[in-house]
Structures are given as structure tokens and as C-alpha cells.
Subunit: 356 residues, 4 copies
């Protein structure tokens, strides 16, 4: 049983608080939240848990083994560093930090302290994302030619713009699927709502193995659409995150059909092969993520959503930010100040196992 | 090349006229249509074709080999009989006739004249219906437990009621799939629009092999819904005729899942196995049907949509009519006055061949 | 703050335990569960809650205001009666009891004790069901002609058969929508898996106002399908419980279209009017249900899912059981032994309010 | 009644041949097709029509009023010019020509001859495309922020690459919707199948009014996907060309919802407002296009799919070709050699009228 401290008790934190409190491997011990108006609700839901406004209380409590951080992005780096220096294991929400420099400092500190540092790329623990990973790894998809991704939301304005808000999800997914960090990125964006920062961005990534990825992230939609197409030499996969148990569709190549005779048939005859909708695990991603984190703290195993992957995502976002300014394709340099930060590893999942 | 005469040039006949005119095995020679206002359009689309108001002209023309009849249902029996007596091959639209007695007379005459008599059960030539047939025949579905069918339309009022208008489609499909004629039928209906005849009917069929079928036919809907579920011991198939190339979905049984933890997941975890959407041929049913008819006239082969199947459908409808009056389940008697009318045969399609 | 005791800690009870523990209007005080192996998990998730194997402990505890019962159906009547006699408010899972006689005794006792007695017809607190209710009540649907409902599951065998397992859901929904108790019911069923009780049933209900309802319940499917069509004089509504936020589709009647020219277009031109997919509340049905119950205990308000509705559902199921045996349509008699049991009231929801 | 000559009798031409032969405003008089093996089929389907291998026969026939050209793209310019010089009205398949220079020569000649010159942008006559146009023009969408378009196919290799094969469809649609010619274009592509020309391209367009469009065209998919999203200040529209009668979905903005409590609900709560699926006309685009062309030849009306629009599409493709080479965003210059070629006009459709 690990003793857990949580920093932040806002909307997203509440989800993880529920998961931590319900986990048989964890004991929720203390919560730090600056907004005192949230203390009562936490106290009601989790009787016996210590609540304060001071994160230092958690760092200074020797009984606490691990800390979960779900505060605004600009505080991630500072709080995670303090937690690691206090020799705690750390799970920090995405983005891991708001700069590559800050992220490298975290990785270095985790290395020195020999503690687990993991970033909350929740989609890497979600059954449809893992199913696509499996389909890529076992050869079903063949060589991945390109990935096209759409993530549109009715977004709430945030000072950092839509790219830093939404793209980390897709970047964490696509880097994991392709098992590579892109070599360059081109980004363009607009601020249609005149908020000063982009509310829609189009991002193109070039990968060393030859694959291309294209992302659209937008706050302008009245609906959540999350749709990703993976085009491979053997099959095409469409992952639609709003289609519940039919989220992953696999399209087989098939034989040539006779030419249709009417425009109506022309519209109808849109596919050549069978479609396969694989069964998906119904486990909850947040629970999968949390149990994986706890297991890593105990075994020393490198987390699936590692800090190095968090760093790769931040580096891509920084290069995309440069591209937004220059209008040119910008390289993603992996060179780090700290000599021992390796390129991230990406797990090769060869079976349907969701957790661990 | 067969010489073809067509009786009727209304809405549905026009579809088949186009198919006949475009067929390389047929020559459209003459059309008989009582409504003279339709003659101009026929003349424009099919220059060189003879047009009259008198069907006898077609019967008396020795150059005509086969006749297609697409007139109102109550005239089917009389016209088909006259055509057979004139020694023509006959394809007549569904229902083959409006009584079993009349149908038997047709079968007898076709036997005497040694001519092909076929009924226009077009769905037996439609790729999704044939795909389900194949899935039943090759064991994919297993034993068929029951079939549940919904066919709702924004219907135009017809004096014979919704059952005789729409149910022949489903009956022809289901009898073909199960390869049997039901032993009894129970029907209930309502006339919500107060037109004197039912505008919605619910029909239950019991089959000798133990299967059950349940049909809903309705004119009350503002939308065309055609959805049939086949529940088998091995798999379930859903055939949705409005889903284009994804019309047939095969649901595999799968493993048991852990109990979901929230109502949300309860809603989501709705399936246990993979789904498979087989590729469908894109051939046009009407073309398939027509070429099959011509081939039968040439080879003497018994048609897939045989007159005996047409008779079985009419017998079921007659029994259902009795059930609407008595409120009881009514037997479907196969005993015919003519001794040599066999129970219909149903083709066992064991490959994906659509025609012939 | 109400003090709550819970009887039963199985799969379904766990959902409600989570809701009760998270409610700010309730205090989870004690749980009774015969299976001691489940006590540890309850203790872990709900520290401070009393756990025993004896429901009497809860009845005898004066500090407990209300009791939630989620035990096997055959124990509902006995436990609910004991709880009411101990002057507790009671929320009991569906079916409220396994006979009308037992249900009437509960209603009588609740009347005598002046306590709230509510049955867990959870779907009456689910946003799509309430949206359809609203569409009926505000005239969007017009006169309801008929309701056709499909509920198929990969079912686990239960001694009472599929009808008592699944049909209570649809009956509670349909009676609520139509605001009436049916006057007669016809049911047929089969035991394809040879388990002794039906694993598929077809049920037809006749309502005093002229509407008809048709239900299919089945354990034979490898997939959860829940699809209900409401055909009205003004519009048709399709409620598909597996379509998430697009669960309710409203089909408008529209103008007549020109006849299609090809079979392909014929298949395509399946609708005449617009479709409207109303926004649905995303509140959780279980939470809505629980808060409604607590409010009723405090205000004396008659619950939406009242015991009289529970009685109506049981009476329909008993008549359907008779019909399964006789093969005939059976009347649903409302006459009760207890003089003061009224026909159930059905709330007319005229706005989108989900709870209260 | 116009007398029509057709050049080309390949796959696509056959569709239009059927439409022309069936039109009551046109008389199909002669067909020119180099491949003599196709002459028999044409003769069979259209008895009485003259067939040759020489297009000049058509140009020299004074009885022919208008010519439809459906030959390989590289011959469009030459044949259309010859037809115009012979004073025929011309409908030529897309692309109108393979260079802007050649297109301008066509426009000039049509001006001199006072003949109708129209390009076969069939989608401008398709009901869903026109419905979206109407939604933009009547203010439903509000200001168009951006358009995102996906068109993937199991493509057959063509020497000109996927962009010239598929992008003309989307360009004709998007230019029409926005009513503008883009000011610059950036394109990137890959040749994954190593055929020498791109088999997937990503294209970004900047419009003078501030809107952005993003296109993906690909031959690499085993399935036809055609999906276009229009994001506007008032509403979002998704046009999915493979969804038949539900091809156009309009998403309303709605109110804010309470934060969901679980990841499951988070996934579910993906939209905030109602969805509206407008009824679509079921008329056939090819028929609409043809009748529009004939009407323009008679009234002198400027066609909806005008040669100037065809020129705009070609200019965008030429700029995109430059961008593929330079890797930079390239301007789309409208300046033409011929002084009197105006910027194309785009019809403002303010009602649901599909044709004329």
C-alpha cells in the first residue's frame, strides 16, 4: 500500500482522486489545494484525508511515497521538481512542463533521486489507442504511411492557446504508435475568436522512418470530434474516440470491383474489402494509468508514459511554436543539455494486455 | 437474344424497362400500358419500341418470348395466366397473385406449357440478402433461433393494406433464409389513420424447424427503416438495408467481461466480441434478377424466386389475414388442389456468387 | 443529511454504494451482506461504514432513515416489508417484488407507516428516456400510435427467465411514456438454450387509449442492443441506448419526393423529412434516482418511479406469464385487494429538467 | 431539343451517355471513341446513334449543337478548343485543361464564339454540397473559419498524381462555398508506393477573407472516405459523402455542461448542442448538371460550374505543384493574359433549389 499525496483538487484532479481513493494499492493521505472553497467537498468525499493549502506539507511528510500533480501547466515544472527533491515518486499531468529545459531538469532529478517520474498521457492507457498500437506492432497495418488526426472541441480559452491544450494528446499517441520522435514540424494557426492565441492549428510532422502525420486541433467546434486515420501498406485503421465500443475500425484492402453504372452506385460502392471492428477492453484508462504508476514506483520499471516521452512532446510543441512564428518547417532537435537523457523508448505491445 | 414484352409502364416498371433495354441478352420489343399519357415518355426513352393499350397484342405476337408484368396486384393472376396460355415465359411482380387458388392455377399452367414462371422477389437478388444467406448456409450463424424484422415506410395508402404491400418482401427473404414454409402465423394490426385497412401489422411466424420470426410492417413512419436481426447459436447478424456498403454486420460471441463500475461504463460495454462487416457485391439487384430470369427461360432451370415460393408467400398472407380476423394463430396449410405442386425449393448458396 | 443503510453488496449494489457515498445529502452508515467475502472490499472503499451479515441490525438502528435493497428478486418483498415495518423509507431494486400480492402488501405498509416506497426503475431517471417523455408530452410526437422495443443481451441464465430479467426496464419506460397501464398482454417465448425457462420472449401490449406496444427481450445475442421506436401521428422517435450522445433521433414527416430512377437511389431515398438529434443532459441516472429518492423522503412527495408503477409492471409480467402458458391474450386487471391503491400516476414532464 | 455529340465512351462517359439519352431536352446524335472495341456496346445501348473514331465528324456536323467531352485530361484543352471553334457549346470533364494558359484560350474562344463553356464539376450539382452552400449563404454557419477536407480512395495510378486526380473535386466545392479564389497555397506530398508521383497530398489554402482550408487527398486507402468539416462562427457542418441521406450534419453551439465525473462520461459528453440533419433532395447530380448545361446553351446564362471556376481550380493546382517543388507557400495569381477574363462568379443559392 503506497501513501499518496495529491496537489490540486480541480475538475481533472477529482477524477484521479476518485481512482486513487478506490485503489487497493494506494492510500490517499493528503491533498493540497490553494482554493479553500474546494476543501469542504474533498473532506466530504474522502473523510480522514488531510487537506491544506500548502504543497510543502506533502513534500515534508515522510510517510508520503508518491505525489500526483494536477495543477495549472505553468506550475508543473516547479512542483514536480520540489516533489522529486523531497524524494517522492511523481505523476504529473500533461504537459509535463512548459519548456524542454524545465523537463530536462525533472528527468535529471528523477535520475539522481532514483524515483519514478511519469507524465499523465492518459490516452496511452486507453483501450482503443492500445488496440491500434497492437495492430501496428503485429503487422496488421503494415508500414505506416501517414496518420491524420482531428481533435476539435468546444474549448475554453486558455492563455497558452489551443496547441498546448489539445495537441499533447495526439502527439503522445502518434509518437507512441510510430515509435519515433519527428525530425521536423510545420505549424500554422489562426485566432478566429481574436483571443490573441491560436484557436485552431494545423500541424505536420515528418518522421525519420518516412511517415508523415497531420494534426488539426481546434477550440471552435460545438462538438467533440476525435478522429484519427492510420494509413498503412496493408490496412487502414480509423479510430473515432466518440464511437464507444466501435471506436476502432480496420479496413481491409480488397479486390477491384466492376465500374458502377450510376452516380448513386458510384456513391455506394465506396469500399473494396471487409471491415473488422475489434472488441475493446472496457477498463478505465485512469485506473489503468494509476495502477501502472504505482507498479513502476515499486518495481523501478520505466513507465509507459515516461518523462522522456513527455520531453519529446514538449520539444515538438516548442518547435511548432517556432514554426507558427517563422512560417517555416522547423527541426525538432533531440540534443539535450543533460548527457544521460536518452531518446524515449516506446513499448512494443504485442498482445491485448491493457495494463502492465 | 430474347424478345421481351412489358405490361405496365408505371413507376416500378420504369426501373425494369431501363434494365431490360440495357441488357445484352434481351431486346425490348413492345410495351402495353392502359394509361395513354405514359406512352410519350416510353416512346422517347425507348425509340423503336411498340406501344399500345392492349396486352393481347403482346400475347398474340409470336416473336415475343417472355413477358414482364408490373401492373396493380389484383391484375397479376389474370394477366400472367393469359401470358402463360400464350406460351410466354413470365416474370410477374410480387405478390404473384392475390390468392393461393389463382397462384396454383398459374403454376399448373406453367407446368403444362413448360414455361418459366418467376415472381419479382427482388430482394433475393440483392447482395446483402444473399450475403446473410451465405452466412447461414456456411454455418457462420449456426442454428437460426429467430429473425426479427422491421420494415417501416412513409407509405401511400393502398386498398389491400400494409401487410400485402410490404410483408411479401420480408416473407420472401425469411422463407429463403430458413429454407422452410412456416406452419402457423399470428398477426395483429391497427388502422391508426382510419383508412379501413391496417397501416401497421405485427406478424409472428412459427417454422417447423423450431425457429420463430417476428415482423413489423408499417406505413406510419416518416422514414424508411429496414432492419432485420438474425439470432443464431453461433453468431448474430444485423442487416440494415439503409446502411449502404455496411448493410451486414456480424457479431461474434466473445469472452465475459469484468463487471463495469459505473452506469456510464455499463452503457458502453455493450458488446463482448468482434464485429465483422463483410464486403458486399455492388451489383444491382434488378439486373441480377432480370439476367437470372432470362437464363432460366433458356435453360429450363427452376428460378430462385420460384412461383412455388410466391405461392408460399401468398399462403402465409392469407393465413395472416385470417389471424387478423380471428385474433388467433392460424395454420399455414401447404395442401394444394393441384397434385404436382411441390413445396418450394430454396437455393443453398454456398459461395458469394450473386447471380446464377 | 439522511442516514442510509444498504442491504446487498453485489455488482449492482456497488454502483449505488458509490453514489450514496458521494452524495452530499446522504451518509452511508451501514451495509448488510450475507456473503462475508465481500465485506473486506466494502470496508476498504467505505472506511467507517458498519458491515454485517444481518439486515435486522439495519432495521433496528433508529439512526437509519432509509434503506436501499439490492438483493436477489425473490427476497425483495420480504426485506422491503420488514424495512417499512421498521418505519424506514425504502428504495428497492426492480422488480419491486415477484408477485402483485406481495407488492400490494408493501404499498399498504408504506401507506400505514407514511414512508416513501420507491422502486429502482433507473431508466426513468436517464436523460434519453426523459427526453422522449418530453417530446411526447409537449406534442412533438403527436398521438402515439405504437412503440416497438428491442432489448437483447448476452444474458446470464437466471431461474426466472429472460422476461422477468429484462422486460421490467421496457415496461417501466413504456408505461411511463404512454401514461397508462395496458389492458391486455400477449406473450410468446422460446427456450432455445434448453434451460427450462424462456431465453427469448415477444410481448404485445394493448393500451386503453388505443396504442400498441411490442417488445422483444432476448438473452441470445452476443451484443447489447437496446432500440425503441415510437411512432406518432406527428413524428417518429428512435431511441437507441447504445448511441451515446446521439441516443434520441426525431424524424420529421416531409414532402413527397419524386420517384427514384434506379434501385440504388431507391435504397438511398429513405427519408422525406429532416432529422433532429436533441442535446441530452449528461447527468448520471443513478445519481438522479438517488437524489430524487432522498428528496421524496424529506418532502413526502410521491416518487416518479412509484410503488404503484412497480405494481403495474408486476401485474403485466404476471399476465404475460399466464399468456405464455395459455397461448392467448390475457387481460391485465388493475383491481387490487387493498382498496386505497390507486392506478399509478405518471409525471408529465414538460421541460428538460432531469431531476425533481 | 438539342442535338448532342459525345467524345469519349469510357467508364465515366457511359454515365453521362445514359443521362443524355434519357433527357427530354436532348437528342444523342453521335459518339466519337478511339477505342473501336467500345463501339458495339454503344450501338447496342443507343440504337440509331452514329459512332466513329473521328471527333472531327462531330465538329463538322452542323446539326450538332453541343458537345460533351470525357476523354483523358491531357486532351481536354485541344478537343474543347476545336469544338468551340466549330461553334459548338461545350461541356468538358474536369480538369477543364491541364494548364491555365490552355484554359484561358478556351475562355477566350467561348467569348468570341458566344458559346457556353462549362466544366464538369459534378459536385456543384449534388444535393449535399448545395445544402451546405445554402447553410453558408443563409447565415446558418456564420462566418466560415475553416474547412477541413478528406478524400481518400483506393486509387488507380495515374501519371498526373493524386492531386490532379482528386483535388479538383474539393477545390471546386470549397471555392464555391467560400465564393473566393485563394491567395496562396502550400502543398506537401509523398510517393509511398514509389510510383514517381505523389499518392498522398496535404494542401493548405489561404483565402482573402481570412478563411483557411486544409485538404487531404490519398490513393492509399482501401475505402472511399469523403468527409468535409466547415467550422463557422455560428455552427459547424460535417458533410460525409458516404452517409447517404444523412450526409449533412449541422452541429449547434449549446450551453455549458457540468463537468463530467468519470472518464467514461468524459468520453460520452462530447457535444453541447442539438444536431440537425437536413433533408436532402434525391435528384441525381449528373442529371442536374446536364439539364443546367442545356438550359445555359439556350438562355446564354453563365453556368454554375463556369470555365472561370475551372480556371481557378487549375491555377490553384499549378501553384500547388510549384509548392510541392519549392517546399514553400506559393501565391495564386489571378492575372490572366486575356484582359476580359473576370474572376469567377459563385452563385448565391438562397433556397433549396437544386437545379437552375
Amino acid at each position: 500500500m503506497s501513501n499518496i499525496g495529491v496537489i490540486g483538487a480541480g475538475y481533472w484532479a477529482q477524477n484521479m482522486l476518485r481512482v486513487i481513493a478506490g485503489s487497493s494499492s494506494s492510500e490517499l493521505v493528503a491533498v493540497a489545494e490553494l482554493d479553500e472553497s474546494k476543501h469542504v467537498a474533498v473532506g466530504h468525499h474522502y473523510p480522514g484525508v488531510r487537506i491544506s493549502t500548502d504543497a510543502n506539507e506533502l513534500f515534508n511528510d515522510d510517510a508520503i511515497d508518491a505525489i500526483y500533480i494536477a495543477t495549472p501547466p505553468e506550475t508543473h515544472g516547479r512542483l514536480a521538481l520540489a516533489a522529486l527533491r523531497a524524494s517522492k515518486h511523481v505523476l504529473v499531468e500533461k504537459p509535463i512542463a512548459t519548456s524542454a529545459v524545465a523537463t530536462e531538469a525533472l528527468i535529471e532529478e528523477a535520475y539522481v533521486q532514483q524515483r519514478t517520474l511519469m507524465v499523465g498521457h492518459t490516452f496511452l492507457y486507453s483501450p482503443p489507442v492500445l488496440k491500434v498500437m497492437e495492430l501496428i506492432n503485429n503487422g496488421t497495418v503494415g508500414d505506416v504511411f501517414y496518420v491524420d488526426s482531428q481533435r476539435v472541441n468546444l474549448g475554453k480559452y486558455q492563455a497558452s492557446g489551443v496547441m498546448w491544450d489539445l495537441a499533447p494528446h495526439d502527439l503522445s499517441i502518434i509518437l507512441h504508435w510510430l515509435g519515433e520522435v519527428p525530425i521536423s514540424v510545420a505549424a500554422s494557426g489562426r485566432s478566429f475568436r481574436s483571443t490573441g492565441r491560436e484557436d485552431v492549428c494545423f500541424i505536420t510532422l515528418d518522421f525519420p522512418g518516412g511517415a508523415v502525420a497531420q494534426l488539426q486541433v481546434s477550440w471552435l467546434a460545438p462538438v467533440k470530434l476525435r478522429r484519427t486515420m492510420v494509413s498503412g501498406s496493408q490496412r487502414m485503421v480509423v479510430y473515432d474516440d466518440t464511437s464507444g465500443p466501435e471506436a476502432v475500425k480496420v479496413f481491409n484492402h480488397g479486390v477491384d470491383l466492376a465500374a458502377p453504372e450510376t452516380f448513386g452506385e458510384f456513391q455506394l460502392s465506396y469500399r473494396q474489402g471487409d471491415i473488422w471492428i475489434p472488441r475493446l477492453d472496457t477498463s478505465e484508462p485512469l485506473t489503468n494509468e494509476w495502477e501502472h504508476f504505482i507498479q513502476c514506483t515499486k518495481t523501478g520499471r520505466h513507465p509507459r508514459s515516461s518523462a522522456e516521452q513527455g520531453l519529446a512532446v514538449v520539444k515538438v510543441l516548442e518547435a511548432a511554436d517556432r514554426s507558427l512564428k517563422t512560417g517555416h518547417r522547423e527541426p525538432v532537435e533531440w540534443r539535450t543539455r543533460e548527457p544521460h537523457i536518452p531518446q524515449p523508448r516506446f513499448e512494443a505491445l504485442t498482445d491485448t494486455t491493457v495494463v502492465n
